[in-house]
């Protein structure tokens, strides 16, 4: 590597980088890929549908609920989207008793289903 001064700032920087290394390693043990430097490693076309009291929410309402577009191509793992839905439904939306269905197709290998609450 290049010549550098071993100041306390250098060590803080190295520690910050070490935390990111931990993020990359941690991602090996969970399906989500946040803070894992994993851009564009999957292409998933998905559609989120939400039922509250048996009434479906519109695409706009779904987008507003999770702050992710209700249907599009996700260029990181689809588990990031599942994680967002699960977190919302188990915290802010826990009183809604919503039923969520995500139809998705990762890398063109065929349609799959994911639902919340999980059975």
């Amino acid at each position: 590597m290049f010549k550098y001064n071993r100041t306390r700032f250098h060590y803080i920087g190295m520690f910050f980088l070490f935390l990111q290394v931990l993020g990359v390693c941690y991602a090996r043990f969970v399906p989500e890929r946040f803070f894992a430097w994993a851009p564009y490693d999957e292409q998933t076309h998905y559609h989120i549908q939400v039922l509250i009291d048996e009434k479906p929410l519109s695409d706009e309402e779904v987008t507003k609920r999770y702050r992710v577009t209700s249907q599009r191509v996700e260029s990181r793992t689809i588990h990031n989207i599942f994680s967002i839905i699960e977190q919302y439904e188990s915290t802010y939306g826990s009183e809604d008793w919503a039923k969520v269905l995500v139809t998705y197709d990762t890398n063109g290998k065929g349609e799959q289903l994911w639902q919340y609450p999980r059975e």
């Binding site: 590597m1 550098y4 920087g13 991602a27 090996r28 894992a36 292409q43």
Partner: protein, 360 residues
Amino acid sequence: MAISSGIKAHLPWRTDQADMLPGVLLTCKLLLVLLMLHGYWGYIRDPYLPFIPFLDWFSSYPGVFEYTLKTLFVLSGFFLFFNVKTRLFGIVLGLCVLLVTLASKSTFKNHLFIVSCVFILGGLQSKQDEKPHLLYLQLALVYFGAALNKMLQWDWWDGQYMHNWFSVILEHPLYSQLQEWTNKSRIPAQVIGWFSMGIELVIGFLLLHRKKYRLAIVLILFFHLFLFTLTKERFGHFLDDILIILISFAGWPRGKTTYQSNSKKTLKIKILKLLDWNDSYQFEVSQNEKNGFTIFKHKHFLNALLGTVGFYVGLFALDLAIRILFENPMQHILQCVAFWGTFLYFIPVFFEKPRNTITH
């Protein structure tokens, strides 16, 4: 009218008199401009589905988180831009962007996360260091992470990922043609996939080697320009981020660099003076080579250009102008011509020995 040296040091287009490395400071300033152009202001909101549950506490006090961070963002951005305590405010700015990322899982983007990392590491980098080694390590980590994630997925090895991306999502005409020629074989998709994984891994290793970093820069530029040419994708503004980060790796002059030339009125010298906003280069008129001074040749011109603020700001502005003035496909064609033209024009610089000039 001459500007006093005190004011000069705080001009936003100067990067040589602050406490940050000049290239790193320019990188941070351009990334800040990039964030604002991409509407980052709208991203700074109260926490919503945060990564850290504690941040939900702020939902009891609407606006406190948002306006505190907006204030910190504006103030630190302003001070960084006008060269006041740039290392400190670089770190503050980076922490703001990182906190905004941590405050909302649904707005997590790699191209925003890397900006926060560069602000923080740029601030932590000492001006006395030879090169911004923390940023080299950061980029190495990005490429290692990207390669590792791909290599652990079978879809990248058997061509499924690339086949789906090019044929279904991008509906790429060149790929369709390749499919016809190869009897609908997955081999072209496999080759592109393997090439991507391989080059990312190699870049990661090269960035860790002091003597190989120039080759790493060439490969980074080639890889991203290749992807951009093929897909028109900027991956959010990840492509812009990477290109801007590379500015900090250029050979920025320390102090004044003096060249010897037959005349001060050649076109190259005029161009250099026009773009040298840090006043880093000066010229001595002489017919004979003086002991220790370097005669100004084309290779010195190329090297010197890579150490000027105006050159990078000009490229940034050119790219922006093309995006504003033209629609696709003309926009993409012009950008490819500009990017590849610049890359090929400067490629000799990356394969020569470090320059030998006199600095004062």
